[in-house]
């Protein structure tokens, strides 16, 4: 078992509770998707797992012990669980070359010789189908899709066990989305990484995940295998969601 989210609560000032008692187990190889409409708390869940946001109650358990402080995450967790963000134009610091960006991912790794560094960089760039000669170039020289590939490469530098993708393709043009999703699908075969995919787009979720959790107002209303969820949804909200997404109909 890779990661356990144990009964997490989180409220922000405002009417709706962001997370209202969420529990979820993530097993190695079992690609999970969190799907739901904007404001259902899926991004907050990702940020709680990564320690960017502290939960009011509940905990995140990794390798058997709960992660309570930011410090506790600096060990294995920060090496084995990595995250990719939504906006490609804000994911890469414009001041640094691709080499420096990828190098920063090894900050907490034991020192390696420049040769080993380069090999690892070339490997991750190849995984995201980007040529190794881009190492000396800077973020402003790349398109949105290319930047997102570099961000994914950065996340793969420490060959993480779990990769959290928070709406990773949502702000890309529809055709570029296809390329990135194809690359991510291919990656599933080439690396022992498990995806924790967050999206509001049910088509993207159907393509990439084994298990799907549907979230509504801070709670997981349904958690099932992909096929059962898409073909025989049990919770009414899931049914409404599927009908709206695939047949564009909604009962008045």
């Amino acid at each position: 078992m890779l990661l356990r989210v144990n009964d997490v609560y989180k409220t922000f000032p405002g009417p709706v509770a962001a997370l209202d008692g969420v529990s979820l187990d993530v097993h190695s190889g079992e690609h999970v998707s969190i799907v739901g409409e904007s404001g259902c708390g899926k991004t907050t869940l990702a940020r709680v797992i990564m320690g960017l946001v502290d939960p009011d109650e509940g905990s995140v358990i990794f390798n058997g012990h709960p992660l309570l402080t930011a410090h506790s995450r600096r060990g294995d967790f920060s090496r084995q669980v990595r995250m990719v963000f939504q906006d490609p134009f804000s994911s890469l610091d414009p001041r640094y070359s691709v080499r420096a960006i990828l190098k920063e991912a090894l900050r907490r790794e034991p020192k390696m010789t420049p040769g080993e560094d380069f090999l690892r960089m070339r490997k991750v760039l190849d995984l995201v189908r980007m040529p190794a000669d881009i190492l000396t170039r800077y973020p402003h020289e790349f398109s949105g899709g290319e930047r997102q590939r570099i961000a994914i490469a950065r996340a793969l530098m420490t060959s993480p066990k779990l990769l959290i993708l928070d709406e990773a393709v949502s702000s890309l043009d529809v055709l570029v989305q296809q390329e990135i999703l194809a690359m991510l699908e291919e990656l599933q075969q080439r690396m022992p990484v498990t995806y924790f995919f967050i999206s509001h787009n049910l088509r993207v979720v159907r393509r990439l995940s084994r298990k799907v959790a549907v979230m509504y107002q801070g709670r997981i209303v349904e958690y099932a295998d992909r096929d059962t969820l898409f073909n025989a949804p049990s919770h009414p909200y899931t049914q409404v969601l599927l009908k709206a997404a695939f047949n564009y109909e909604v009962s008045p």
Binding site: S38, D173, V174, L175, Q177, R207, A244, Y248, E249, V250
Partner: protein, 250 residues
């Protein structure tokens, strides 16, 4: 089909500074009365510029090289600005993707609708307010009085989207150009707006030009469809169109 209410004939638009780069290249489109016509394309395909051109709002940085834009057989490229202005909103109107940024933030929703109505057919205060509330109920706004008194930033995403539709329809246009009406909405809201479009066509005989990148949605709603790639109209079998199609199935 009945006669065209708006049609674009071989329109070519280029950047003023570098006439070689074409934003729209020999684009033709016919919008019959009471029909929904889809214009599908990715970002940078020129679909929004086409929508603006149909309103006679050609961005200053561009110039028309060839082509005509006809409103009931009168080419609006030949018309003077004042005549065009009177037609905008009253004959052809436009709705925008980000409803929040289509509203003036410092005026209430009701005032802005009243203002748009008054710009084309001034009517008495009391009567105008009632027409405004009717319009809001027409676009399925649950509590017109409350929504009219709110400022745009105080409305939810879905409500703001419908209020913007009311704003675009305030002068009873016969054609609505909807630019990405659903792409920033959640799926359930998206479906509800599409149903609203079907109802508006049925009740008002409104013709709609549906500009979007979501091919599946346009296929479901539009009577006919045109695919735009880098400013050119391409056929269904064009690789770009097929790529859009496959993005749909996934």
């Amino acid at each position: 089909m009945n006669e065209a209410i708006v049609s674009v004939k071989n329109l070519t638009l280029a950047l003023a500074e570098s006439p070689a780069t074409l934003i729209l290249d020999d684009v033709s489109l016919v919008v019959p009365r009471g029909s929904i016509v889809g214009v599908v394309g990715g970002s940078g395909s020129g679909k929004t510029t086409l929508g603006l051109a149909m309103l006679g709002l050609i961005p200053s940085a561009m110039q028309v090289k060839t082509g005509k834009i006809l409103w009931e057989d009168r080419d609006l490229l030949m018309r003077g600005p004042e005549e065009l202005r009177r037609m905008r909103g009253a004959r052809v109107s436009m709705s925008f993707q980000e409803a929040a940024s289509a509203f003036d933030p410092v005026f209430t929703v009701g005032d802005q609708i009243l203002e748009a109505m008054a710009a084309h057919n001034p009517s008495a205060g009391k009567l105008a307010r009632q027409k405004m509330f009717d319009l809001l109920s027409l676009v399925e706004v649950p509590d017109p009085r409350r929504v009219a008194a709110n400022y745009p930033h105080e409305l939810s995403g879905g409500l703001r989207q419908r209020a913007m539709l009311a704003l675009a329809l305030s002068a009873k246009p016969s054609v609505l150009i909807a630019d990405e009406p659903t792409s920033s909405l959640d799926v359930t809201l998206q479906a509800r707006v599409m149903q609203l479009f079907r109802k508006l066509r049925r009740d008002l005989g409104l013709s709609i030009v549906l500009i979007a990148h979501d091919l599946g949605m346009v296929e479901r709603l539009a009577d006919e469809m045109v695919v735009l790639s880098k400013g050119c109209v391409v056929g269904k079998d064009h690789p770009y169109a097929r790529a859009l199609m496959s993005a749909q199935e996934m």
